[in-house]
Symmetry: C2
Subunit: 301 residues, 2 copies
């Protein structure tokens, strides 16, 4: 058993998390959350997205959020940019890295972004070209890597094909998303093994949802397969178990606790991270979705 | 990676679970839960305990519960029996197997059962002798195997010493309990490796609490170390995250989902198990503590 000495966490709470919360969030609250996360030592923070507010009203005003945050030297501030318009807005706002979002299943691609997988990849081409010119790194998300709500099973070969394509187009990191959280460790290991045939291990990230409670087991399985980057969401933002349409992002606190226990360095201060999660949970008037936070809060109560 | 083809789940919800719930539970409700679990195919069900009702009022009337249940042919019905009086009551009630309860840390032993570890083992000797004569198998629990609320770290060598002693005294199975749920997969694997030097793998069980969300990762780690028996609690009984004093038993539904995903046979029907958990959660007027159950309930809502 050989585990990585260091792991990079990509904090998706302020974007993937908040956009799936029903409670409206002001720019001031988003800025405070991002500042709290920077102070806790999160190395990558997804600040927001530049998409039409018609589609994702929670992410309206991402340029104000970028303008308002304190930038910590150890943190990289990123944005989701589905198209050229969004990319240009992100660049103007000062995003240090951007991300594009594809699906591994045709059903999810059609329902989520209203086009086929190959059409979506074509749309990303000008973004990748412009980003290369601007010296901005691009991350590629692949959703539904361990199952699709519309198509059911998704073959690992299909995930590998989309991941390889995004990597070939210039994405420096490919985040493999178990969007519906149905994956288990054996399937996760087989997937990583298959995808790492076409994308180097160092360029892969695991993005697990805890909808069925499997996220940490899948992260441990991924570590055993050599994955060194994971996406997570402070307080489990976006995955409140009592909210409708919860997507179930794994809580950053629980991942950090796991990694600390394994002796893997993240550079993150767990206590400060828990405080960040407690603050945003209070703002959203919802229970903290991190089990580690709940256990620690109870100890201190 | 070689995983076992079959795993035995020991359902501890009706005993370990209910005795940690604040809501009072009638004998009728306990009987219905146990019948639901038998119908779902649980191979071992801990029905109750025979201890003084002064200490554990929730388990008063365990003899009535034993008398009232339907016994499914595929299920074994067990009881916790700390001393000879309890053992005789359990035998009269028709328990097919009994269990004794020791700690791996002196601090927990003193606080929980009011004697040293070695004194507790001495108390179990007549129980084991009487059980051998009656042809009843005895299970040995060891608590605090990955940390103690009073003593802090617990050396694996100390856990191994207690486990070896119980095994030598005649316990056929040793359940290693992460009572406070602080364990992570690396420590879990080291513990199993150490204990299996003195107790055969086939005689070990993993008993994980999900207080810090690590239980399924620890179960997966234990499977990789050759453990084939796990304790769990339907609906996460005993571990309601919103109750004070929650101990955090891992939910049986989440374990079965994990094992199903790994292609490991349990003989349990997940759908029926979820229904059993939903019914007892309604009775207790508390949210279902299983993520799998909550996800499936939402799908069908």
């Amino acid at each position: 058993m050989s585990l990585p000495a260091k792991v990079k966490l990509v904090e998706v709470g302020p974007r993937d998390g908040l956009q799936n919360e029903s409670h409206p969030v002001s720019s001031a609250d988003r800025i405070r959350l991002i500042n709290d996360l920077g102070a806790a030592g999160l190395p990558v923070i997804e600040v927001g997205s530049f998409v039409s507010p018609k589609w994702v009203p929670q992410m309206a005003g991402s340029e104000q959020v970028f303008a308002g945050i304190n930038r910590y030297a150890g943190s990289t501030y990123t944005a989701l940019t589905p198209n050229m318009k969004g990319f240009e807005q992100a660049l103007t706002a000062g995003a240090q890295e951007v991300a594009v979002f594809a699906a591994a299943s045709e059903g999810f691609s059609q329902k989520n972004i209203n086009c086929s997988i190959s059409e979506s990849l074509q749309r990303f081409e000008p973004v990748l070209a412009a980003a290369a010119q601007a010296g901005i790194r691009v991350r590629g998300y692949v959703s539904c890597v361990l199952g699709c709500p519309y198509d059911g099973d998704v073959p690992a070969s299909q995930v590998a094909a989309v991941a390889r394509e995004l990597y070939a187009m210039g994405c420096y990191e490919i985040s493999l998303g178990d969007t519906i959280g149905t994956g288990t460790p054996g399937a996760t290991r087989q997937l990583i093994a298959r995808v790492s045939d076409v994308v180097p291990h160092a360029a892969l990230a695991g993005h697990f949802h805890d909808t069925y409670g499997q996220a940490l087991a899948n992260i441990y399985a991924s570590l055993l397969e050599g994955v060194q980057v994971f996406d997570s969401s402070v307080a489990g933002l976006g995955g409140c178990p009592y909210a409708k349409g919860a997507t179930g992002n794994v809580a950053s606190e629980d991942v950090v606790y796991l990694l600390n226990g394994l002796g893997i360095d993240t550079g993150i201060d767990l206590g400060s991270l828990i405080e960040a999660g407690n603050r945003i949970s209070e703002t959203l008037e919802r229970p903290n979705g991190s089990r580690v936070a709940r256990a620690k809060n109870k100890q201190h109560a």
